[in-house]
Subunit: 250 residues, 2 copies
DNA sequence: GAGTGGTCTAGACCACCTT
DNA sequence: AGGTGGTCTAGACCACTCG
């Protein structure tokens, strides 16, 4: 009696998972229409959607608003602690990166950033908004908030390139330590639209406060990743507070 | 014309968000039943569910299977790179932690872990399964996979305590570096049941491979966190790989 | 204009939890 | 036993995308 009856949506999930595993459904390809799947499995669209949402949560498929469901490509492996350039990182994983600048403007510091960046209240920041794609698919929406004093006339620069490089070459600023924050949340507003996500879809928010070589806070990035497009991997050479034994051989 | 008509579910989301912000709905409390909300907003359960799912994705509310919807408590701030004890960490954030051991057994190494832990194929590992709660609510399901040779008779120990401490006191093993992997995915199987999540709910999977003070791999943790219960925060003192110019002046 | 997903209606029965 | 969410039916109209 503990026997759990198999639900229709579980059947759909199971079948699609097999098709995905067997490569019958190829990454990047579109799935049949919801109505078509409902016919195939002799059920209603709502039940089909239920199953698709589950596979979406797993990251096996993704949705583009009003365009349909697609098979996910492998996740980008990303280490926020290493300051590698996005294009370099993506290329190293045999994918093609592109960056589009959405805007660059001066704004009042968002309230949440005032303590994070140790700002005076009502400070002004330079905000750069960009969207980055892998294999033509937008996967990352980023807002950079820069301390204006350190970056005069940055709006006149080419902002589609690596900002890390721009900071170094144009402004002589090198990243030192950084502090970041990884939080699973939901897409909203411009981030949702840009990533072609429904309002409220799960995303991974990575907020990073960056220091320069002198230990000054120079900027803060707010990254919104499609939840199925990324995997974060960090190799921590344990800073063993106290014991100096980290380099002893086995 | 670009004017977006406000959907009913958007109205529900907006109203509930306000109630949550104003503390009219208190963390830990149960929301009204779906049917009741449907009446309140003069709509159907499906539309109400739609709205609730969005708030769930944001982490503002959560579901317990067949029990109802509840208001989320603040996220635990967690740094996987620092090996602090779970109970200590939780207490430091003014919450109450508890740990329950689900089992300890010898198993064949799961296929995914063979390369991760540099094992010989068909190796055996000691698996410990635990569930950890904050303020009585299960938020974390963990499987620890230990190299058996380093941990003789560990099944006879009290496994509800900090394993870090046990490793040190009983086995003389201290954590050195570790490598971890953070991946937004979906709950399944025992993890879903233990966390009282629906199969397919979004979770944050943190996989960590740990080395000891001699640089040997000693174990691997697979943590499944409720996506709304945690925020990861890492302070990276930048290990400047390669370029020796990191301390040069501007 | 045809097809797609987005949203919604108005119900229904079941499995499980709580009392 | 009564209430809850879990699942499902069989439709409908709308907004948007694409060819």
């Amino acid at each position: 009696m503990g026997e759990q009856r198999t639900t229709q949506s579980a059947t759909i999930i199971h079948t699609l998972r097999q098709q995905l595993a067997s490569q019958a459904l190829v990454p990047g390809n579109k799935l049949p229409a919801e109505r078509e799947l409902a016919d195939l499995f002799a059920t209603t669209r709502i039940t089909v959607k239920e199953a698709l949402h589950t596979l979406e949560a797993e990251g096996l498929i993704y949705r583009e608003e009003r365009r349909g469901w697609f098979v996910s490509r492998p996740r980008l492996v990303y280490n926020p602690a290493s300051r590698s350039h996005f294009h370099t990182l993506v290329a190293a994983q045999n994918r093609v990166a592109s960056t589009r600048v959405l805007g660059c403007e001066t704004v009042l510091a968002p309230a949440e950033l005032v303590p994070e960046m140790a700002l005076a209240p009502l400070s002004r920041l330079t905000r750069i908004r960009r969207v980055r794609s892998i294999d033509q698919r937008p996967v990352l929406y980023v807002e950079h908030y820069l301390i204006p004093d350190y970056f005069p006339a940055i709006a006149d620069q080419d902002l589609s390139q690596s900002l890390t490089r721009l900071y170094e070459i144009q402004y002589g600023l090198h990243y030192g330590r950084s502090r970041f924050d990884i939080c699973p949340t939901a897409a909203c507003g411009e981030a949702a639209r840009t990533l072609s996500l429904a309002e409220g879809s799960p995303v991974l928010a990575v907020t990073r406060v960056n220091y320069d070589q002198h230990g000054r806070i120079i900027d803060c990035d707010r990254e919104i990743w499609r939840h199925d497009a990324v995997r974060i991997r960090i190799d921590s050479h344990q800073r063993n507070s106290g014991s100096p034994g980290s380099r002893s051989g086995s």
